[in-house]
């Protein structure tokens, strides 16, 4: 047991070390491209722009670790944002409208989770694929091709504001709190251990008394909730809501989680790696932005990165050394 744990730790460290090296390398390149990059405020702003996706990454890590996938998150974000905007337009105070957005996100996630966990043989792929059409479709039914804006001025503080007179963006503090919370749940709680056990061996987990259906339900609901959180911050950033916001986010969120060492086949990865990958992805995007690379091309690069990150370890078969169990273990 201890032997295996040590092995896992060393591979994890290697992966996260690699991410740190890549982050440093990208930062140096970015520093060469722009003289404004190496300033405290510059780095803070560069990171803060991206963080609404980070909220989605946190819960996507859980979904991937149990060996499932959720491609409806981008659509849930769009629906939450649209419903929030519509409630605000009908006269609901913004504070309550934000809660509506969170409730819509959690509700969509709950619906996904209910179908996936209660009905045997129903895969998360098809449920969330149908969901991604359904939720964005509802957003289109509600709003058509219009946009709703005119939110109160304090609302933009969520995405653009700073804490007090410091240079620390509010969204960054919120994200860090979220990351610590999720890291604690995943790595320091029994719930987290159960999540890993499901990802490593579903049947074994079920037979050893892990309530698999309940945990899947909770994880998908959380994923919907975080899509709602992302909707609140994204709408604050954009200043208006439309049914087509957050298009393509599902690819990027999954790509970041996988880049962070979370295996899509389940059971491997953690929050730290995902956060490092988030920073790396943001710095890459920042650098590409400096070189005037259009968004479509960035999606090509992100897609290729995702495929390569999953594929390369599979192709390097020498990585798979048999794990020797020590005799003293018994």
């Amino acid at each position: 047991m201890s032997n295996k744990e040590k092995l896992n730790f060393s591979t994890l460290f290697r992966w996260e070390g690699l991410l740190v090296i890549l982050i440093i390398g990208t930062s140096i390149v970015n520093g060469r491209l722009s003289t404004h990059f190496w300033s405290y405020a510059g780095i803070m702003d560069a990171l803060a722009v991206f963080l609404e996706k980070g909220f989605m990454v946190l819960s996507m890590v859980f979904v991937l670790i149990i060996g499932d996938i959720d491609i409806s998150v981008a659509s849930i974000t769009a629906l939450s944002s649209v419903v929030m905007a519509l409630f605000f337009k009908t006269g609901l105070p913004m504070e309550l409208a934000i809660f509506v957005a969170l409730a819509v996100g959690a509700g969509c996630g709950f619906f996904n989770g209910m179908l996936i966990s209660r009905i045997p043989n129903l895969s998360a792929i098809i449920v969330t694929l149908a969901g991604s059409s359904l939720y964005r479709g509802i957003a289109y039914i509600l709003l058509g091709d219009q946009a709703v804006g005119g939110f109160p001025s304090w609302y933009s503080y969520l995405a653009w504001g700073y804490i007090g007179k410091t240079n620390i963006p509010f969204i960054m503090v919120a994200f860090l709190l979220g990351a610590i919370l999720y890291g604690f749940i995943l790595h320091r709680s029994t719930f987290g251990r159960k999540v890993y056990s499901i990802g490593n061996n579903l049947t074994a987990a079920r037979f050893s008394g892990v309530p698999v259906a309940k945990i899947k339900q909770i994880i998908f609901t959380l994923n919907g909730l975080m899509a709602g959180v992302a909707a609140v911050f994204l709408t604050s950033k954009l200043g208006s809501s439309r049914p087509n916001i957050a298009t393509g986010y599902e690819l990027e969120v999954i790509a970041i989680a996988v880049l962070g060492g979370v295996s899509p086949s389940g059971g491997r990865g953690g929050i730290v790696g995902a956060c490092l990958a988030l920073i790396l992805m943001r710095l890459l995007r920042y650098g590409m932005g400096l070189k005037n690379i259009p968004g479509q091309v960035m999606m090509v690069i992100i897609g290729i990165v995702l495929v390569c990150v999953v594929m390369i370890p599979n192709l390097l078969t020498f990585r798979k050394k048999p794990i020797k169990l020590s005799k003293t273990q018994e």
């Binding site: 996938i69 491609i71 179908l115 009905i119 045997p120 043989n121 129903l122 895969s123 792929i125 098809i126 449920v127 694929l129 149908a130 969901g131 991604s132 059409s133 359904l134 939720y135 964005r136 479709g137 509802i138 289109y140 039914i141 058509g144 091709d145 393509g248 599902e250 690819l251 999954i254 790509a255 996988v258 899509p264 086949s265 259009p294 479509q296 091309v297 999606m299 090509v300 992100i302 897609g303 290729i304 995702l306 495929v307 999953v310 594929m311 599979n314 192709l315």
Partner: protein, 342 residues
């Protein structure tokens, strides 16, 4: 005794599947009559022909998707693969207007096969999950479409008449596109049901390990289905550009939902191993009817997306219920037989 039992359960499965397809046909007839009552124009020959014309492209894409689904995978990249081949074909025909349309169709098939082969290699050799591989390639092909076109469209006036009349021309009273779809269906019906490779696709989908152990080259089969899917979306891409006389960057954006909906409506199982060519044809026709009927009964086009998601969910649930009932009935039969022997 054993063979008798087997043939009986097999007969029952065929009955259930046949019943399912019969059910879809009844549903198609009923819904057509209902829509016809709301809007008499729906049941005119002109509209039915238009509807079939739209369904032709969808049904070809659905065949490719079915092959992938039968192996237990999914090909999300088909919509942007279609856009990319369509765009390249459009640019070629713009620069060389003398090229014959048949050559363009062949070119689409070859180009699509190459795109599909790349996806197939990633899935079969790179061992990347189909959902992750094809989700990535969906954005990669879409992005490449944007890059090579520079964000511009190819418009109708830039295309030669010979290319556009391919879509409007008729063969034996049907549009050429419908004729192409019929040929595709005949070829794939034969391929899936009467060739060794075709049956191996089902073997890989129903039990991967068993298929590998009895000597089926599973890697090749997986690669093949993505390549065939590519060939079909390449063909459909050229047909799409000819039909709508324009090649755009966002051609068929979101269309993969329609394709998957057609497949699951036609009884293709997402977990692999189950699906027939005739079922997919019926599923495509049904989606074609729904898409055509919505504007006719004055449903806002904004409803289309949500309805598609709902259709996929309901169809998948129905599929699961049907297969569970079939299994239960089989178990009961076996139980009765065991008791008889006691």
């Amino acid at each position: 005794m054993n063979t008798n039992e087997k043939s009986k359960s097999l007969r029952m499965l065929i009955k259930i599947r046949g019943f399912r397809e019969f059910g879809i046909i009844i549903f198609i007839i009923v819904i057509s009559i209902l829509i016809g009552i709301r809007n008499p124009r729906f049941l005119t020959w002109g509209n039915i022909h238009d509807m079939l014309l739209d369904t032709a492209i969808l049904s070809i894409l659905a065949v490719g998707m079915t092959l992938v689904l039968v192996t237990g995978g999914i090909d999300l990249s088909s919509e942007s693969g279609l856009a990319l081949t369509g765009m390249i074909a459009g640019m070629m025909i713009k620069d060389n207007p003398h090229l014959s349309p048949i050559l363009m169709l062949l070119f689409g098939i070859v180009l699509g096969s190459i795109l599909g082969a790349i996806t197939g290699l990633i899935v079969s050799k790179g061992k990347v999950f189909p959902i992750i591989a094809t989700l990535s390639m969906m954005y990669v092909y879409r992005g490449i479409t944007f890059i090579i076109s520079g964000g511009k469209w190819i418009n109708a006036y830039e295309m030669p008449d010979s290319f556009k009349t391919m879509a409007t021309g008729r063969l034996l009273g049907f549009s050429n596109l419908i004729a192409i779809a019929i040929v595709v269906y005949l070829v794939f019906y034969f391929f899936v049901n009467h060739t060794r490779t075709g049956r191996e696709i089902y073997a890989v989908g129903s039990n991967f390990e068993a298929a590998r152990i009895i000597g089926i080259n599973t890697g090749f089969i997986i690669w093949l289905v993505y390549t065939l899917s590519g060939a079909l979306y390449g063909l459909a891409g050229v047909m799409w550009v000819a039909r709508y006389a324009s090649a755009q960057n966002d051609t068929a954006s979101g269309f993969v939902m329609t394709i998957v909906a057609a497949c699951v409506l036609g009884g293709v199982s997402i977990s692999g191993g189950v699906g027939t060519i005739s079922g997919v044809l019926l599923g495509s026709i049904m989606i074609g009817i729904i898409n055509n009927a919505l504007p006719m009964i004055r449903v806002s086009p904004f409803w289309k997306m949500a309805l598609q998601g709902l259709i996929i969910l309901v169809a998948v649930l129905v599929n699961i219920l049907i297969s569970r009932n079939a299994e239960k009935a089989q178990l009961k039969q076996r139980e009765a037989r065991a008791m008889y022997h006691e």
